[in-house]
Each structure stands twice: as C-alpha cells, then as structure tokens.
C-alpha cells in the first residue's frame, strides 16, 4: 500500500491535539454549559404542523387569545414554513395541553405534538446513562484484560471516554440542543469506539506473537504495521457507518437530527482515537514496561 504515514512517530501531535480539545471542551462546558433541551429543564414544547404556511404572529395571537401566550414568537421550520415550534417555560397542565391541542386542531387541521417535562427525569436519565457507561467500562476492562492485556484495556477505556467527551464538547461549542436521544447517540459511540479499538488491538496482539520485542523501535514497528494493516478496514467501516449517519442526518426525521449529528462527530473521533490515541497510549505504556524489565535504560532509548 502506498499510504505510509507514521502514526507512532507523530503520536505527540495527537496527544497535544486531543489535550487541547479536551481543555477547550472543559472551558466551554464551564463557561457556556450545554444547550439543554426541555428534556433537562422544566418546561413545555409543542410542534405545530399546518397544510399551508404558518404566520408566527398569527399563531402567537391565537394562543394568546386562549390564555396560552408563548414565551417567544414561535420558530418556523420546514417547507414553506409549514411547521412551527412553540416553547413555554412552565409545565403546561393537562387541561392547558387539551386546550392547546383543540385550538391548534381547529385552526390548522392537524393535531400538534406537545411535550412537557420536569427536569428530574432528564437528569435522572443522564445520571443513569453515566453510571451505565462506568459499569460497562469496568466490564470491558475485565474482558479485555483477560482476552488481551490490562494495558490495552486501560487504553481502550481512555479512548472510549475520550470519544464520549468529544461529542459533549462539540455540542457545547456549537450550542446544539441536547435532548434525550443525545444520550442514546453517546452510548452508540461508546459501543462503536470500543469495537473499533478492539479490532486494532487484535492485530497488535497477533503481530506481537510473531515478533520478538527487543527494544522500543521494534515495538513501534509492530504498532505501525498493525495500524497500517487495519487502516483500510477502519476507514471502510467508518465510511459505511458514516453514510448511514449522514443519510439519517439529511433525510431523516427532524426529531433525530441532533442524534445523527452526534453520531457523525462521535464516529469521526471513534476512528481517530483507536489509531491515534488508544494504540499510541498503549505503545507509550508498553515501552515503559519494557524499559523497566530490561534494566538497561540506555538500550531502549530510540
């Protein structure tokens, strides 16, 4: 193959790159936080669909006349502005929702969608997801530690958390709305990331058996070859999954649009982290282990 970029040699660039993004991500989270949808903040959200284009002022006035004045002028979307979303900072009661539905149905002919939420549920779900990821991580460490080796398990987990955090960071940067499907997207990426990393590690494991590791250079060679051998697979696989994610993004329903964007970002980072973070971290740690074992510091220096 003609492609021969030396990932091992440039590992510091990747470490610096990921560190910068991580720091920026933390800063962004601290300063801007996440753009939490109503799934995490108390309130109500309604989607209206009409057969003809909607006039936002008109819609607002109509709702006002039945005592359901929206917080802001409704946001229009869709072809010819046939869709509108209306937000309330308070949780609408059952009767208010009924009134909303009847009013809209009379005016526009179709039944609107209305969601209300108290922040407890969203937060609980997020916490639940976080705990699940941590438990899953322990499980993965045990499995990968047994089937592969402990250092690989550790590197895989770091790559996994890296990917999950990157999605959260990018969503914070871009002020994209975080809703309940976002959690599902992050979880998918966790699954994908581990899958991708294992495939690369599997090849390293196989090549390690074939090679006698004398020094750091030989080790670097093994990592380099393993990445090179699995690179086509990594790229092709991520391409096919990306195609699916992009198709959902562009053509899919509006309610899973952010889900698709989160997947897209996560998939990119998932491939990047397997090659540029997980494998490289393992290399650094393994080289140190090697150095300790050899008792000859001069020998293992590159």
């Amino acid at each position: 193959m003609s492609f021969n970029y030396d990932f091992v040699k440039h590992r510091k660039i990747f470490f610096i790159f990921s560190s910068i993004i991580t720091v920026l991500g933390i800063v962004s989270l601290l300063v801007f936080g996440l753009n939490l949808g109503i799934d995490y903040e108390s309130g109500s959200k309604a989607e209206v669909q009409a057969k003809t284009s909607i006039n936002a002022e008109d819609l607002s006035d109509t709702l006002n006349s039945v005592g359901l004045k929206p917080e802001e002028i409704p946001v229009l979307a869709g072809q010819n502005n046939q869709r509108a979303s209306v937000a309330y900072n308070k949780v609408l009661s059952k009767d208010e929702i009924a009134k909303f539905k009847t009013t809209i149905k009379d005016k526009y002919g179709t039944e609107p969608s209305v969601s209300t939420v108290s922040p407890v549920v969203g937060r609980e779900l997020a916490r639940n997801a976080l705990i699940s990821v941590l438990i899953a991580s322990v499980g993965i460490i045990i499995y990968v530690g047994l089937r592969f080796e402990f250092l690989m398990a550790l590197a895989a987990i770091i790559a996994l958390l890296h990917d999950a955090f990157m999605i959260i960071a990018v969503f914070s940067f871009l002020r994209l709305e975080v809703d309940l499907t976002f959690i599902a997207a992050v979880l998918t990426i966790v699954g994908y990331s581990i899958n991708d990393t294992i495939v690369t590690f599997d090849r390293i494991r196989e090549n390690m058996k074939k090679t006698r590791i004398k020094n750091k250079d030989v080790l670097a060679g093994v990592v380099h070859d393993s990445i090179k051998q699995t690179l086509t697979r990594s790229i092709n696989t991520v391409l096919t999954v990306l195609v699916a994610a992009v198709a959902l993004w562009i053509f899919g329903s509006e309610s899973i649009r952010n889900f698709s964007i989160a997947l897209f970002i996560g998939l990119m980072f998932g491939m990047y982290s397997s090659i540029c973070i997980a494998s490289q971290l393992w290399f650094v740690w393994k080289a140190k282990q090697l150095k300790k074992r050899n008792f000859k510091p001069a020998d293992s220096q590159a």
């Binding site: 989607e47 669909q49 059952k94 929702i97 009924a98 539905k101 009847t102 179709t110 039944e111 609107p112 969608s113 209305v114 969601s115 209300t116 939420v117 108290s118 549920v121 779900l125 639940n128 997801a129 699940s132 438990i135 899953a136 993965i140 499995y143 309940l180 499907t181 959690i183 599902a184 979880l187 998918t188 699954g191 994908y192 581990i194 899958n195 294992i198 495939v199 599997d202 051998q229 697979r233 092709n236 696989t237 096919t240 999954v241 990306l242 195609v243 699916a244 994610a245 198709a247 959902l248 562009i250 053509f251 899919g252 329903s253 509006e254 309610s255 899973i256 889900f259 698709s260 997947l263």
Partner: protein, 432 residues
C-alpha cells in the same frame, strides 16, 4: 474446471431466500408494532402519590394502580397499551394510536372517586359501596342518557335516603360528586351555571333499592365515559404527571416516512460501495446484509417489540456495523491473496483469522449494550435492545452466512486465479 453444481447450489439458496423474503416481509412489516413516535399517541410518566393520608406506596399498591389503569385503557380501546412501573413510585403509560388524546388523558388520571354527600358535604356513600361492573348507560323518559349504578347493599341506600329526606325541604338534596376535592362545597357550587358536582336530586321518599340512576345533563359520550370509568374502578392512588409527550398522528407518519426514506438511501449507498470495492465478496455482503435486515425484522416481530424512532436509527446503524464484520473478513482475504496464496487457501485463512477479531469486537459491544439494557430506561432500553439484536444477527449473517455463500463460489473453482474479482490487482501480489 468449474464445478457447476456449487454455483447451482448458490443460486438455489439465493432464490430460496429471495422467495422467502419477498413473500413474508410484507406480513412481518405489517405485524410490527410502531411506537407512539411513529404513529402518534402519547406517553405520560406519573408520580404516584398516596390517595389518603398515611397510605404507603409499595409494590402492591403500584401493581393495583397499574391494573386499574389497564382497565381504563381497555375502555379506550387502545390495542397495545404499555403500562409499566418505573423505579419506586412511578408509572409510565404509553398509548400509541389513540384517536382522542385529550379525552384519553382525562380518563386516565381522574381518580374516579364517586361520592354521595349531603348539602353540608358530609360523605354518605362512596365508591366502595358500588358493585364492580354494575354501571351502565340507560335513558330516561325524555330519552336523555343517564347512568345507572348498582349498589352492594340496598338497605344502606334506604338509610341514606331516609336521612336526607328528614333534613327537610331545601336541605334534602343528595349531592353526587366525582373527584370531590378538599375545599369544594355544595353551597358554593350550587348557584353556579356549571357546578363541579354531577347532580343534586331532591329526595322525597325512602328508596330501599340497589339500582340508582344519576341524571346529570350528560351527552351520550359523557354518560358512557362515566359508566365505564366507574366499572373500571377507582384508582387506589393519586397520579401526578411528571413528564408527558404527545405526538400528533401526522408527525408520527412523517417521522416514519422520513426515517425509512433515509434508511433506504443509506443502505443503498452502503450496498453500492461494497459492490464497487469488494466485487464478488461485496455481492455476497449485499446478500447477507439483506438477510440480516430481514432477520432483524423477524426477531423483532417474534419478540413483540415496539419499533420506535431511535430503534429504526439503531437498525440502520446496525447495518453499518454489520458491514464491519464483512469488511474485516474481506480485507483479511485480500491480504492473504496479496501474500501470494491461492483463492481457496486465502478464503480459508481469511475466515479463520478474522473470526477472533470479529468475536472479540462483538462481545465487547454486546457487553456495553447489555449494561445499557439493564440500567437504561425507556428509550435507551429500546435502543440497547435493537443494538444487541443487531450485533447477534450480524454475527450470524456476516460471519456464517458470508462463509456459506462465498464458500460455495470459491469451492466451485470459478474464482480461481481471479484475484481481480476480490478487488486485488495482479501487481499487488507478491511471489511466494
């Protein structure tokens, strides 16, 4: 020498699958239940609160509340209600395809506590005096709908009516309330045009009977609802809405349409890519992926799963992930071909060596998805389930299915010395 019988077997199996898939898919797709986000409907998460002071909310109370809700939902005629207990004090109700959402919601959360009181709001009879299932709609002389109740004990009603009658003219009303709340009073409501109580007939004689009728200016529908709800029984608890989401039927329809359309495009591009990049193995991948999608739908149907929007997304993603197993194998075969092996031995070595990779990668993914399934709630759970099914199905089709199909072609010797059919150029092959 090409062994034609292997190729014939290949075509035969392929044809068998094509017929099977072609004939049974429409029925399977029809059977699969759609979530409320795909057909309209609503979901409410209730917090369960004690109906009386000192009542403890334990598992038995939750269960009986779910049963009561279930009976009410049956009144609505929803085909696939989903009522589940969540955590220690929550109940999630999912009703897909409800026509009148407003009415359904009202029907669900009303406590349905019927009380008969005197003008001073003192309770004389309550829901516990009613005979279960004894309420029905009848008509009075003016042909107006009225609700007829059956009491457990006719003598008790006699005592009650006697008591009310003895309170004298102007005071002898038997006030019938549904969901009387603290602070409500007959005297405050009596003058209003639209009082909170249902009716307040005057009692002029002692009635020793079990049958009681309520006349309350009902419409036919209101009367029917009241009778149904009384039959379904009162809720043993108070329900507070914590979270609710309702999707208009039109929105659901559109979401389903858009997402399936997106899925077709995504899958079509993946198929095209596999064909162009991997040639003959790519063709096998297209076949096994089609079987994979079919299998997922079939399993979903068997499991009585409810397909939701995130579920479809997981399904489409699953296709992308299933492709991975194919790609790992084919890349491995190509590597073996490049090292100078014959097609036959490259196929065998490629299969063997890629197996552990795919196995370990899939096990770790299932591990992660399993934890999500165990700990996740509602939509996360559904998503995890589809992911687990996807990984298992992809393992069967992409590993074993691919072996059978590609194996037949390889063993027919038709592909011998044709590395180009695997997407490997002659110039890349090193001499052994």
């Amino acid at each position: 020498m090409v062994k034609k019988n292997r190729i014939a077997t290949f075509i035969l199996i392929l044809a068998a699958f094509a017929v099977l898939i072609g004939f049974t898919t429409p029925q399977i797709v029809k059977n699969i239940k759609l979530g409320l986000d795909l057909q309209g409907g609503f979901e409410v998460l209730y917090q369960v609160k004690p109906a009386k002071k000192g009542q403890k909310i334990d598992n038995d109370v939750l269960k009986s509340a779910v049963q009561a809700l279930d009976r009410r939902v049956n009144v609505l005629g929803v085909s696939e209600p989903n009522i589940t207990i969540e955590g220690k004090d929550r109940i999630r109700v999912q009703l897909a395809g409800v026509k009148d959402q407003n009415n359904a919601r009202k029907l669900l959360s009303t406590k349905a506590q019927l009380t008969f009181r005197d003008v001073n709001d003192k309770v004389l009879l309550d829901g516990s005096d009613l005979k279960g299932g004894g309420s029905k709609v009848t008509y009075n002389q003016q042909n107006q709908p009225i609700v007829q109740l059956t009491l457990k004990d006719g003598d008790k009603f006699g005592e009650v009516t006697k008591k009310v009658m003895n309170m004298g003219p102007g005071q002898n009303q038997l006030v019938i309330w549904l969901d009387y709340e603290k602070g409500d009073s007959y005297k405050a409501e009596a003058g209003k045009k639209d009082p909170k109580f249902i009716s307040a007939p005057s009692v002029n004689s002692v009635l020793d009977q079990k049958q009681v009728v309520i006349e309350g200016r009902f419409t036919q529908e209101e009367a029917q609802n009241l009778a149904d709800i009384l039959n379904a029984g009162a809720l043993p608890v108070k329900l507070k809405e914590v979270y609710s989401t309702s999707v208009g039927a039109k929105f659901g329809e559109q979401a389903l349409h858009d997402t399936i359309y997106a899925g077709f495009i995504g899958v079509a591009i993946i198929f095209l890519f596999m064909l162009l990049y991997y040639r003959i193995p790519g063709l096998v991948a297209v076949i096994t992926l089609s079987i994979y999608i079919y299998l997922i739908l079939l399993i979903f149907d068997w499991m009585n799963g409810v397909l939701t929007l995130p579920g479809i997304a997981a399904l489409i993603l699953g296709v992308g992930m299933a492709v991975d197993a194919n790609i790992i194998t084919y890349e491995r075969i190509k590597e073996e071909l490049r090292s100078g092996k014959s097609v036959m031995s490259a196929f065998k070595a490629g299969n063997r060596r890629s197996f552990t990779t795919i196995f370990d990668a899939n096990i770790t993914t299932i591990l992660a998805a399993g934890v999500l399934f165990a700990y996740g709630t509602s939509s996360v759970k559904g998503f995890a389930l589809v992911l687990i099914i996807s990984v298992l199905a992809s393992f069967i089709t992409a590993v074993y299915g691919s072996r059978v199909f590609l194996g037949l072609l390889v063993k027919s010797r038709w592909l011998d010395k044709k590395p180009g059919y695997f997407g490997v150029k002659e110039s890349e092959i090193s001499e052994l």
